[in-house]
Symmetry: C2
Subunit: 223 residues, 2 copies
DNA sequence: ACCTGAACACCGTTCAAGT
DNA sequence: ACCTGAACACCGTTCAAGT
């Protein structure tokens, strides 16, 4: 066990550390602190390790203080998931652009997607995998998820314009690609890839290469 | 809120069905009954709906009777997962064979995989998705999972021999295909496929067609 | 507004005891 | 062998009360 409250240090800090004195109100942005602590716990031990009581105690706050900022535990996890989609989008878009777009950029984008999942397995599982009680999705979460997906659509349209990819419906194409990287990510996280192919990034490159052949533009039989 | 204890009334009351008389031992195969009841509950409300207390009560058995047949709750869920892999293997192999193997059979196999997942979403989630506490996998579960995977490898090798598919490492190829159908299945289960492509089977056929082009044997430039 | 402690209705699991 | 009830150490959430 680490000392309680050591992640709060990431926050801009209102004072030396953020710990509050017993009996006083919480210092500053409890909402932010709750999300940060939940994410920290998720990284260390998965969603199942998150208990409202534990989070509150680490933050030096009463067990029910959370309900001032979230309707319930699920709402807290939804916020964590939302943050994950934002990070995923930023990682993939940056890879796409730094890779110079086109073929190389697209490969980098795919690798970045899988890498994010493998490096943040428990966080990724909260985003997908049904850890959320999702009868009615949080609209903010849906929006962030849609934005991440849109980045992929944009990259595909760009390549279609450049004549690199067949001109199928971009949404359909994007879902196809998404299913592949998502499948690789999930299998890798669940440790279901054989030892020979445990190098996930390498495997991702292989997959992207194979898919390339499948979605390549037809051999230029234009008008 | 309902009055406490009124759920017991749902039981057929000690007669027609297999319910046992109060105070007596369980009729026959309690182990089987536990797995069946757990699966039933999973289908209706997901893994989270499974409580040992609830399962026991439905079966008219004490809350701790389960521990005579399973080391803990996780062991029960592992058995449910194992059963899922067996069903998945049977469904895919049958599709492959009834489809006449080859191209058509392989497409049928892929569709069967995704269909199983979509028709048994909560069961599928127990098989993957980390619902299990899997620090050390149940060897029986691993075996059943490997058998399901092997069916895919076999189908690929068969097609390689028939010159339909490029002669890459079959294991690698199988993992690639698996990632795709798994990705489609998970996204479908999580309701993340757009309305336009909500017809999962159709979408699966599209994906398989695109992948076909990527894994096809090179245009016969042999010796 | 924001926080608190006590209380409620749940969990999985252990254990001494019964047949 | 197989089953039992009581008990233990947990949960998320509600609620009247405090500042």
């Amino acid at each position: 066990m680490s000392t309680p409250g050591d992640i709060i240090d990431n926050m801009p800090a209102i004072g030396p550390r953020a710990a509050k004195k017993r009996g006083q109100y919480h210092h500053g942005d409890l909402r932010r602190a709750l999300v940060g602590e939940a994410l920290h716990t998720i990284r260390r031990g998965g969603v199942e390790a998150v208990t409202l009581r534990g989070v509150a105690e680490t933050l030096g706050v009463s067990r029910t203080a959370l309900y001032r900022h979230f309707t319930d535990k699920n709402a807290l996890l939804e916020t964590v998931a939302r943050e994950g989609f934002r990070m995923l989008r930023e990682a993939t878009v940056e890879a796409w652009e730094r890779g110079g777009k086109g073929r190389a950029g697209f490969e980098a984008m795919g690798v970045a997607y899988v890498s994010f999942a493998v490096q943040n397995p428990e966080h990724y599982r909260v985003m997908f995998g049904g850890a959320l009680t999702t009868p009615a999705r949080d609209p903010e979460l849906a929006k962030e998820g849609a934005a991440a997906f849109q980045a992929l659509v944009d990259a595909l349209v760009d390549q279609q314009r450049a004549g690199l990819i067949r001109r199928d419906d971009p949404l359909r194409l994007a879902q196809f690609i998404w299913a592949i990287v998502h499948g690789i990510a999930m299998l890798a996280i669940d440790r279901m890839l054989r030892a020979e192919h445990a190098d996930v990034e390498k495997f991702a490159r292989y997959a992207i290469a194979r898919v390339r052949d499948g979605i390549a533009a037809p051999p230029a039989a234009h008008a």
